[in-house]
Amino acid sequence: MKALAFGAALALSCAAYGQDVAKEIQRYRQMVAEGSPAELFELEGEELWKKPQGPKNVSLQRCDLGEGPGVLKAAYAHLPRYFKDADRVMDLESRLLHCMSTLQGRSREEATARVFGSADRPSEFELLSIYIAGQSRGVKIEPGLSQPKEKASYELGRALYFHRVGAWDFSCASCHGDEGKRIRMQELPVLYKPEAARPVIATWPAYRVSTSQLVTLQWRMNDCYRQMRTGPGNKR
């Protein structure tokens, strides 16, 4: 009987411990949201946005991210979307690349030579992304879904989400498909449910305290594919 009581007490304290940890993680996230070093990178991103570069020596300030040339307010929240001039659906990074080639006259090879940076030297895409995303604070995330090509992209994305690939036969849904799953202390959101996906997607691009690095949503997807062992070609 005594042993049973002890067992019950242990179970209780473990549950309390788990709750404490979850609460501490919540508190930590709150602190990061209130004062994140990401804001420092926003300042650098703004500088880069206004800096003349490339063969044409112009800045990206006239780049149309979907809200009109040079309009940054709410632009990130409405991406990816269809762009008539390119006749395809683009996310932020692909649109930036488009502007780098059309406005600045840069080649694809040169502009994409370094898409993911390091803690010492973030990439151009990372700095620009955080600056542009910062101009969408408080705006509801609503990617384009009215054009036929946007609908086609959405359907393709849905198919990719559930498509199993690679050496381990993983799909996105293998990890992000059931409620209550986690890797170590990290909860895995069920990303095909809008109510779960929205608050998570809204935190990107993000500053990772563990690596002191600024990372983008493209990086996240790429690194998921790497962890899924989908094959060579994923840049680290």
Binding site: G35, S36, L40, D120, Y207
Partner: protein, 104 residues
């Protein structure tokens, strides 16, 4: 990178002022090795000074135990609208940076 941007926010409460400062700094411990296996030399902020209207109210000595790109937040007793807060740091290489803001 050492003298990268800083950012500061000061918000007034009743009888106090909350200040949050973001600093860009590598904060190298001297224990890390780079991709070539060479030790990355120590490089960290040593002194942090906070002045309120020109008068020093906080003088901190910190070390390499603090993370890269530190966030420093503290509460000042008192403070009023229009007060000038200055924060500056000095690292072990003798480099420094400063920022100032007015309490709004």
């Amino acid at each position: 990178m050492a003298a990268g941007p800083m950012k500061m926010r000061a918000s007034l409460g009743t009888g106090f002022t909350d200040v949050r400062v973001l600093m860009t700094h590598p904060m190298e411990t001297g224990l890390r090795k780079d991709a070539d296996g060479k030790v990355v030399p120590q490089h960290f902020i040593q002194n942090l000074t906070v002045k309120l209207n020109g008068k020093t109210v906080l003088d901190a000595q910190i070390s390499q135990a603090v993370s890269r790109n530190p966030v420093f937040s503290f509460r000042l007793k008192g403070g009023a609208k229009g007060d000038k807060i200055e924060v500056s740091w000095l690292d072990n290489h003798g480099e420094s940076a400063a920022i100032e803001t007015v309490v709004a």
